[in-house]
Symmetry: D2
Subunit: 338 residues, 4 copies
């Protein structure tokens, strides 16, 4: 990667926020191993305060692990998990949900912008006869913001979780980009998910300025011990956990997570507004999906912009907590000039 590259490949490609580094360095003394350190022990209270609802928090090293652990705690091996067919748990986790749940079946619903709806879910699960020959739906997995950069409103979440309760479904929320969703909605963090009766949340920090710590937030605290046992069994209980806990604390301090999310969203808006006619989806978080021909994509790459093709005729750009105004502006200008 040359110094001139402007990276819009993924928010995973960004570096780590200085305050996260500082917190990790501050944790750099001897302490009790695993999650016996003071920082890890303080997480439950910290997130309970953030969401105004009692919860247990366990750090993991990836969002995939957080999602898969949550789904395993919620779903028996012989049952099903409803999600959008573009959901990360279905499409990008290498089968981790099937591994952690011991073979639960993912049941795929459609929906605009990678958002599911009660109607879309009903279409998948209502034809399933309730007998032992059919795998029965048990859990609903939502993503906030979605894989196409869309955000569920509190009203949509209320409708989805009410529907889930009516059908006896547990609810997991994949919040790899939860910060971007809250930043977009401008609501209390709880209202972007937890307040609506979800059971578990993968609260992502790594894409948002962290290094290696995600938070699995367990609102059904009766599942917390099981989640901790499953974490160990999955090889996810790091022995120097304080360096993970420190990252989470740093992100919560003064709502750094939210500031970072807002910054990424703002950069995305700069880019989106440069070529609104090209947008495949309204830009609500930090991902921009645009119609771009192959020659157009090549032209952009020749100018030093790195990004993924989304299809033969489109591209995905992702902004980060530290996407510079200069970089966002340069991309906006390049798009406008095409």
């Amino acid at each position: 990667m040359t110094a001139l590259t402007r990276l819009f490949v993924s928010d995973n490609a960004a570096c780590v926020h200085p305050r996260v580094w500082d917190a990790m360095r501050a944790a750099d003394g001897p302490d009790m191993p695993y999650d016996g350190d003071a920082l890890s022990q303080a997480l439950d209270a910290r997130f309970s305060a953030l969401f105004g609802r009692e919860c247990a928090v366990i750090w993991t090293s990836t969002g995939t692990a957080a999602n898969a652990l949550a789904l395993a705690c919620l779903t028996p091996p012989f049952a099903g998990i409803v999600c959008h067919y573009d959901a990360h748990v279905e499409a990008d986790e290498g089968g981790a949900p099937e591994f952690y749940t011991h073979g639960a079946k993912l049941m795929l619903a459609g929906g605009e912008g990678a958002k599911v709806t009660p109607e879309g879910i009903a279409k998948v699960i209502d034809p399933i006869r309730d007998d032992v020959h059919r795998v029965q739906p048990h859990t609903l997995a939502l993503t906030q913001a979605t894989e196409e950069g869309r955000v569920y409103s509190p009203g949509e979440l209320a409708a989805l979780t009410a529907f889930a309760r009516e059908r006896g479904l547990r609810v997991h929320l994949d919040g790899a980009r939860f910060a971007n969703a809250v930043a977009h909605l401008g609501c209390a963090p709880a209202d972007a998910g937890p307040a609506h009766g979800i059971d578990t949340l993968s609260f992502g920090f790594i894409k948002n300025g962290g290094m290696s710590a995600e938070a699995l937030v367990v609102f059904d605290t009766g599942l917390a011990m099981e989640a901790r046992r499953r974490r160990k069994r999955a090889g996810q209980l790091q022995s120097k956990g304080r360096y993970l806990a420190a990252q989470l604390h740093a992100m919560l301090d003064d709502d750094l997570w939210l500031a970072n999310g807002r910054a990424a969203n703002a950069a995305a808006q700069t880019i989106a507004q440069a070529a609104p006619d090209r947008l495949l989806q309204p830009v609500e978080a930090n991902e921009i999906f645009m119609t771009l021909t192959a020659p157009e994509r090549e032209a952009l790459r020749n100018q030093g912009f790195a990004f993924y093709d989304w299809s033969d005729s489109s591209a995905r750009f992702v902004t980060c907590w530290n996407t510079s105004e200069e970089d966002a502006g340069a991309l906006a200008a390049a798009l406008a000039a095409l």
Copy 2:
């Protein structure tokens, strides 16, 4: 934990080596996610050079994950893994081997100092009729250094691996404290394990001054792709892998890993020699197991020493890469004074 505590609880309790920090900071720019970064891509060559044998290297966040991934690549679900009954994979990984292998059976052999022998293994596997009613042994899992701080000599390893080949067993080496073993043996790194035809090695760095990166070294490179797929599926493929790879490179630079192992071993010798009559095991690595009555343990704790009870009448002390001469000396003096 007060500032006055002298921590001999675990090498996991130690902080991170400054050169590891430096390498992580040096990696702190944007780069390709997952293991697409230059540092991760360079690992295979780096470890192949170290061991003088081609290998593939994948980072994981825990030794448990490295062990379990290796065992899953080597062992079908319907087969067995022979290990010492005190082995970490049996006793301290929360069932991770069973999880990753989908239910392979651990078969427990005895042996002095948590070391297995061909005779001890034969005693376990020879009575197993070769039919479908019995789970058949398939893999041998060794630990170097062992859970009781003992080190297999090259000769012992040669005998064990020859025996394994004769019986058709694959061989995994859990090297959570491989550095301490090499430091003790004073041999080439390969001679402490890899040169003897083992298939996989968990090369531990976290206990030895690292933060969060272990190396799963796959000598049977035909298994490398499978190991990478299983790592992703286990939620172990971190998106900012460069911070893990940086740790491994820092540890290999100028053989920092070996220097750290030697330092920990030296501190252990200081302590061991203060009360040789109390030793339950010869001290070969960085763990000291001593006969100590409950009042004696209480007396030590009252002086600020932290450590684990090993049994009703014994204790375990673990030294670290950065155990100070002062701390080791203080413990030695306290032991001598009992």
Copy 3:
């Protein structure tokens, strides 16, 4: 169920053929347990002769078990199995494939008559990037005859298996109604599947006059021992296996399986020809799918016919090896009279 009921619910509802009973009684002496008896030991040779191709045969108690065992032998846990979305392995086995394979992912293709095509499969697997984030397709599962009563021609099978080889896919054939398919094609048994390079076949007998024995036919004989181990591990190795083996031998004697398949197909034709305009699918085996309104279905049920609704506006009738001319004729007449 009254004596007057005419049962078209399922071929599972039929009783057992007298020659199967006779063979079971003939086996009713003391013999070696499990599959150590002479009848079980003779199965490999018997089926190898039938198909003109070396194979290993293991009995199971259900088609679900045979399918799931085959898929587990062919597919690693982290890979995918392509099948039609209406395939029995996806829709009617309670998650058995996921259980036996330890979480392989079923990948669903479309296709008229529950038949898949190379194009339909390509549409599912070609967009899958070959990286560790995506579960990779590994096995193709076909059904002969399909869940909608359709039969793959030898030419279609040749094209599908050639395509599978080209894409590196193993091939399993679910032949719960293989007898009906061969009866329809009028070809050599091998040409209805085995001759085209498939790896495994579930050859169904229970729906076709058997009681409790299906044959898992393993053409890749290198997998036979693994299949036997997995059968035991699945609790499928019955201790009095001779009563299962006897059923299979009875079905092969004088091609009873084929005669039974022909009889069921003939009864299906009688019914189909009574109301050709109602057919949703050409009737090629022993299942008839017909457009029938709710009042029409009620009228039929009032005349003593038992069958399953297929949708709000259609019904499924299944004929059996012993569906009487009288019953088939009565249903045909009733349909014609609607």
Copy 4:
């Protein structure tokens, strides 16, 4: 096997009782598939009456499947199952418990006659720290009669189940030879197990004159639906279930199961009393373990007796429901004459 062979290899080697055959033939009409037939539906009530305690009963084709299903319903994947090291679930089921439970760990206790005791169990589980690093014991698996032909008295069962409750362990009873145990004890069937608060029982019939049906008896009826789902997922839900249910009914009619158990036990006594000094275990059920040198075993085999070696210096003889007085007497005479 020649006509002259006298088979003491296993009770699995025996043929099927005529009344079982009769009941199967009587069931040989069309009926609803799976367990929708009248005979299957009547099982819950039938066994509830037998045991004087509400239970759900599901047939399986093997004792291995019944045991593994029960253990899977009782035990989470990350927990442990305590059993004797000679227990069938540990030693003879090809890893089925690990498969069905998704990797639960079997924890092995000792005990005379393959019987466990509260003290022996405590020795295994009490050293297990209650933390996430150690797999925690969750279920106790007992065998009645044991693998060495011994029978737990009601008093012993009361003590074991009280101990289990105290330690929070669920209890499964493997009753592959439950009939022989009840016959020995001369007590009510419930008092040989169910009355003492066990959760699940594998009630064996195949070794005792049945053909292919065992009964998994679920006393914790809240688990019944899960057991039924797991049975389907395991490929154990046969489509013509009425032939299995018929076997179970025939065995309960007029207590045929008990008469058969008594007959086998009586034959065992005939043999045991011929050479009491050779007995390794008191003969309480239908297995006889005797000290016999290799030449002695050869001499017996030359006289037409078939049996298994138990060790280099001993043999196992098993009697069946239909071991003739002539055969038992002949073996007794041969043993006395050695």
